[in-house]
């Protein structure tokens, strides 16, 4: 079930009404049933996989808590990690490895024909984080199986995050939340802005991006550049839009999920970018992989290796394709380069307090670097990605005729899309400001109801209501 579908428009109010109408002791059960129903909207059989990983991690976490022997605890942790990664490997990476083995060895090993279960990368990581926290002693294992199952399957963030920590979510799911206007108001605003980003901006940019990236060899540098910039905006609006809706939906039930994006394209360095982009995943990798690998405590060389390794794995988490691995490696390299630069005095001055011009130039360079890496993320295969890069720098004449639809989009259609992108940056500033209680007394604050009404009108009228999926569902 998609957030931007008619089914969800019916499902969500029913869940909210039941949630507040039911006595507190039954709420968890209703939410659990609703979450599984939400998940079964895609491929009902995969709910059993979700249940299986939940059961394994529930048992393992409780055993870890009861066991005092360190060896046993470690063994149980390994069992949990192997189960989660095993499922992830089989459903997501098996065919990738088979394909590469077949290519290299000339063998003909058979592929698995299972579909990728929606959200599998998200919920397995959430569960692994929980078991590791219990193992480390920072968290008590949940005794109530149903409530633990709800933590894993909580529908607002089940299929595309944010990847929540048990320490933040579990206790909130147990709270007796009262019906409060503040929760509805804050949640509703998030939902509206998230929907605007998704259906008005991301989905209106996607036809042009899809068309150019389908046959990149047919387009000159001009269209390749526009499509790549548009994709950078599209993926941000698509994913942060989803996160905002998820946060908003949870908030109407009094649950505060973690923020997943904080205006990442306004960052001035790659390091800052990763502290603002897909925060729940980057902090997950930091806490459960980068730091256990030694983080930055084992010398400069080891730090660089750790960074590269974490980002390559992060790329691989996104998808079983070489393009994602290259994308991750590129970001790892950017960070290593930044780490080397950080030893320069001028970099320290820049990162601590840049002037306005330095900020603008820094943000501009960051956007170019990130967009360049997106080429690998979006291209269908690495060969297409290299074609795009080659044509971006060599195919200056427009001797390759753009497709009719691109011509049809013309300057006016393009102007509209650029107008949408500008509205994103202004809107993001305003919405973030309003949610933090800024602008009080200003016109925006006074007329905020009209602003949200205008956004709703744009969502209804300008939204691309075709069959467009959320990009991150494929991960």
């Amino acid at each position: 079930m998609l957030f931007n579908s008619l089914e969800f428009l019916i499902f969500f109010p029913i869940v909210i009404i039941l949630y507040y109408a039911l006595p507190y002791r039954w709420r968890w059960l209703m939410l659990l049933i609703a979450s599984y129903y939400f998940y079964m909207g895609w491929e009902p059989i995969y709910a059993s996989l979700l249940f299986l990983t939940t059961a394994i991690d529930y048992v393992v976490a409780n055993r870890i808590q009861r066991t005092t022997k360190q060896n046993h605890r470690k063994l149980l942790l390994i069992v949990s990690i192997c189960c989660n990664l095993g499922i992830l490997f089989y459903f997501k990476y098996y065919n990738f490895f088979i394909e590469n083995i077949n290519d290299l060895a000339g063998s003909s090993l058979t592929y698995t024909r299972f579909l990728l279960p929606v959200g599998v990368s998200f919920y397995t990581f959430q569960e692994m984080g929980y078991v590791i926290d219990v193992y480390r002693g920072g968290l008590k294992a949940e005794r109530h199986f149903g409530k633990f199952a709800l933590f894993v399957s909580y529908f607002p963030q089940l299929v595309a995050g944010p990847i929540e920590r048990a320490s933040n979510l579990m206790h909130q799911l147990k709270e007796n939340v009262e019906l409060r206007y503040e929760n509805f108001s804050a949640g509703g605003k998030k939902i509206i802005w998230g929907l605007f980003k998704k259906v008005v901006i991301a989905d209106n940019l996607s036809p042009l991006v899809d068309q150019v990236y389908l046959n990149p060899e047919n387009y000159s540098w001009y269209w390749l550049l526009i499509a790549t910039y548009f994709f950078a905006i599209q993926i941000y609006c698509d994913f942060s839009g989803y996160s905002d809706i998820a946060i908003g939906v949870a908030r109407t039930m009094g649950v505060r999920l973690m923020e997943n994006f904080r205006l990442p394209y306004l960052s001035r360095s790659i390091r800052e970018f990763w502290s603002r982009w897909h925060i729940s995943l980057s902090t997950w990798f930091r806490d459960y992989l980068y730091i256990p690998l030694g983080g930055n405590r084992l010398g400069a060389r080891r730090t660089q290796i750790n960074l590269l390794l974490v980002f390559i794995i992060s790329g691989f988490w996104h998808g079983a394709e070489w393009t994602f691995i290259i994308w991750g490696a590129l970001h790892g390299l950017y960070l290593v380069f930044e780490l080397i630069l950080s030893k320069r005095k001028w970099w320290n001055t820049y990162s601590k307090g840049p002037t306005s011009w330095q900020s603008i130039i820094g943000t501009f360079i960051l956007f170019q670097l990130v967009s360049f890496a997106w080429i690998f993320f979006r291209a269908d295969n690495s060969s297409d990605a290299f074609t795009i890069i080659k044509n971006l720098f060599t195919l200056f004449e427009s001797d390759v005729a753009p497709h009719r639809t691109i011509q049809w989009l013309g300057l006016t259609g393009l102007s509209f899309k650029i107008f949408l992108i500008l509205s994103l940056f202004i809107g993001d500033k305003w919405i973030h400001g309003l949610s933090r209680g800024e602008f009080s007394g200003s016109l925006i604050h006074r007329y905020r109801m009209a602003l949200y009404a205008a956004l709703i009108a744009c969502i209804v009228f300008l939204g691309n209501w075709g069959e467009v999926q959320f990009i991150y569902f494929q991960f």
Binding site: L179, A457, F461, G466
Partner: protein, 313 residues
């Protein structure tokens, strides 16, 4: 609770006002000869094009038609009223871009309940029986003169985009169309004389057929039967692209239960070989004028043979 309901109602009211204002602005403001709405959305269609001319022709015509052709752009470019006239028959071509069975049903219901009880030539083509095909809905929404028929489109296909297209009708100046009818000839027919320049693309061997579209064809045939109108199913010739024969057979298999149920006569010319890909088509699936002349010259005797000619002629 009271505050939540009151504020929600307030937001709802404001949103309606904002929607009306936005809809009005985007419909009334024109950029490069097109409404801002059609620039700002990927689906919105302004008035004009062949559907505009088709409705205009039908509304002003005093001819008693022997045949009405329904179907996609292949019908629109495939049944020439001038060739039928030479054989002594009158034909009005109500084919339109991506017209699927739901649209054909709506047209038959609202516009084609003609006293002369014409014979319906229903052109069937696999692609309009697949997936989401809304182009024809938007084209008709922009051009259909009867608001009730336009609203029935919104009701029949609940889709926000169709509702938006309906809303823009309320602000539009109906007097002149946004675009002309460039390839339009007469009586709904559009002509193209180009020939194929590209190579033919192969087909996906087993396209998924939308069951709802098949059910709507069934409903259309039942409607025509209830009005005592005769009808015949026809399939136009196609190029010999790789894999198409399999696609067509798969499609006909899906159609067969409806054909059997209504005991319908079906003239299938799709896999016939008398047309030449290079000379008689202007693209992979559409015949050009030379192709139409050959096809219609072969079809008319077949209609006579099967008894699908006006009783008085």
């Amino acid at each position: 609770m009271k505050q939540i309901i009151l504020k929600s109602l307030q937001l709802f009211l404001y949103s309606i006002i904002a929607y009306i204002v936005l809809c009005g602005i985007l419909t009334l403001v024109h950029v490069n000869g097109r409404t801002a709405a059609s620039w700002a959305t990927s689906y919105m269609h302004g008035t004009g094009d062949h559907e505009y001319c088709t409705f205009k022709d039908l509304d002003t015509s005093t001819t008693r038609y022997d045949y009405i052709a329904l179907g996609s752009s292949h019908a629109m470019h495939g049944y020439d009223p001038r060739i039928f006239r030479k054989s002594g028959y009158t034909l009005f071509n109500f084919g339109s871009s991506n017209q699927h069975s739901k649209i054909s049903y709506m047209l038959a219901k609202y516009y084609l309940d003609l006293p002369e009880k014409p014979i319906f030539l229903i052109d069937v083509y696999h692609a309009v029986f697949q997936g989401e095909v809304l182009e024809s809905n938007f084209r008709f929404m922009a051009n259909i003169p009867d608001p009730a028929a336009a609203f029935s489109l919104v009701r029949s296909d609940p889709d926000l985009r169709l509702f938006n297209a309906f809303a823009t009708r309320l602000f539009r100046n109906e007097k002149k169309p946004n675009t002309g009818c460039y390839s339009y000839v007469e009586n709904g027919y559009c002509q193209n004389t180009d020939t194929i320049s590209n190579s033919l693309a192969p087909y996906d061997p087993a396209p998924s057929i939308n069951e709802e579209r098949i059910a709507m064809l069934d409903k259309l045939l039942s409607l025509l039967e209830s009005r005592n109108c005769r009808y015949i199913l026809v399939a136009h010739p196609m190029t010999k692209a790789e894999g198409f024969a399999g696609v067509h057979q798969h499609f006909i298999k899906s159609l067969q239960p409806v054909i059997d149920k209504h005991n319908a006569v079906f003239i299938d010319q799709t896999l016939e070989t008398y047309l030449n890909d290079k000379e008689h088509f202007y693209n992979q699936t559409h015949m050009n004028q030379a192709g139409v002349e050959l096809y219609n010259a072969r079809l008319i005797p077949l209609l006579k043979e099967t008894g699908f000619v006006p009783k008085e002629k």
